[in-house]
């Protein structure tokens, strides 16, 4: 992996392939995981927004993307780890052309590749983001503490709707460290948007955001 080559994905104009492939892939992803698409009425009226979710599988970002209504999918970009999504030609193609992921560095972060810069640029273009504030995949079943990135991203944009998403069972479909998926049925719960409050301390905000995700998970239990 080459690092520090100065390339920042968020600066590239978003490349889109024909809509057929993303639509087909979203359909396959929903069918393979048994997930239903999210109705437009369940989402905020204004865009852009930031979707934030618990993270247990590499499938998390593609699945949220696939469950969104088509008009949202076209303007929503998952935030994903560059080292994984540039790990092979297929993943690279999917990340760049289909999901139009905003790829960020997880290692050797410097002022030149500040991971927040491409996210801010995408939001400035009116594009919504899907991000995982835990920073890394948990071992499933638990939701780790949120990293401060979410707060840094939104603290100067209090109007931005932040939509909590709880993903259930995805870490069973494709757990950390496994290559082959198991077809259990996944579930995706979208909550009401929250916003960062004026003068809200970072820790309080992050805990409130995490609680919003956890609440969706608890509500889903029978």
């Amino acid at each position: 992996m080459t690092v520090d080559d100065g390339a920042v994905d968020g600066d590239e104009p978003p490349v889109r392939s024909t809509p057929l492939l993303p639509t087909a892939l979203a359909w396959i992803l929903r069918l393979a995981t048994g997930t239903r698409s999210v109705p437009t009425e369940a989402l905020p009226r204004e865009r852009p927004v930031v979707f934030f979710a618990n993270h247990g599988s590499h499938l998390d970002a593609p699945l949220i993307w696939a469950a969104l209504p088509a008009e949202w999918r076209a303007v929503t970009r998952p935030v994903a780890a560059r080292d994984y999504w540039e790990g092979g030609p297929l993943r690279r193609f999917l990340a760049r052309r289909v999901f139009r992921a905003v790829l960020i560095e997880r290692r050797k972060i410097s002022a030149r590749n500040n991971p927040l810069a491409p996210l801010r640029a995408a939001l400035a273009c009116g594009e919504s983001l899907i991000l995982f504030p835990e920073g890394t995949r948990s071992d499933g079943g638990t939701v780790g503490s949120f990293k401060s990135g979410l707060h840094h991203l939104v603290r100067d944009r209090p109007e931005l709707p932040l939509v909590p998403v709880y993903l259930d069972n995805l870490s069973r479909i494709l757990p950390k460290g496994e290559l082959l998926p198991v077809p259990v049925i996944a579930n995706l719960f979208v909550g009401a948007a929250i916003r960062v409050r004026a003068e809200e301390p970072k820790e309080a905000f992050l805990e409130r955001a995490r609680a919003a995700v956890l609440a969706l998970g608890t509500a889903s239990q029978p």
Partner: protein, 312 residues
Amino acid sequence: MSGNETHYLVGGTYAVLVVASVVTWLLRRLKDPQRQDPVINNLAARVQAWWAMVIVFTVALAVGKPGTVILFALTSFLALREFVTLTPTRAGDHRALFLAFFVVLPVQYFLIYVEWYGLFSVFIPVYAFALLSIRAAATGDTTDYLARTGKLQWGLMVCVYFVSHVPALLTLEIPGFDGRNANLLFFLVAVVQLSDVLQYVWGKLCGRRPIVPALSPNKTLEGFAGGTLSAALIGAALWWATPFAPWQAALLAALVTLFGFFGGLVMSAIKRDRGIKDYGSTLAGHGGILDRIDSLCFAAPLFFHLVRFYFT
């Protein structure tokens, strides 16, 4: 598909469905034009799901053995998926689960396709059992080991092994019944599914004494007796399409209904244990696939073996 009898069976089924659709439409027209009555809405959703299932079933039968084997392999896949989703598993089970879905299940249905009775009748109880236990042990994760491997084996037995006995009916060689085995399959599925409906109807009409109140308050002695008797009559009425005499058809239908009833009870026990009402929401008005085929799962091996021992 073979023989005029099969055409009559299929035609009869569509006639029943047309009647059900007309009745639903009339009920709605007369009693509930606002579409607010939950009972009528549920009925309409069920009839719609019935149409979908019957159309898929007839297309599979029309394609013949490959179509039928593939249809039931897919049914097993969806049922096992519902079962595993509701069963807690650990990371250490991942590879065993992968084997169950993508190796054990296809191999079982392949064995049925090539009509290798000697192996398909022991493959899951013996070889899949050993293989999956070994695979799970090899991960070194011993927490709840026995419970985890037991649950997976249980799911495979019910969702794959039992269900696979439905298409296996096509492999039986019954003297004087060549090329008409699809009728057996039709007989089994029709009797089991109709007995479900009839038990429900009899239970609603005169059900008083629940059989296992803690499990299914709606399953009453009256519903069970009425359902079994009327299913036996339906079985007897279908004798002309089978290799059975009318009394044999009635007896088989009653036994199949009995086992199907207990199958439903067993699957309810699991649902209670997991604290859920339905196994899924694949079929509107019916819950999941597993909710619809629970009685078929348990009835299929019994019917298969009775026919195999007494008629081949």
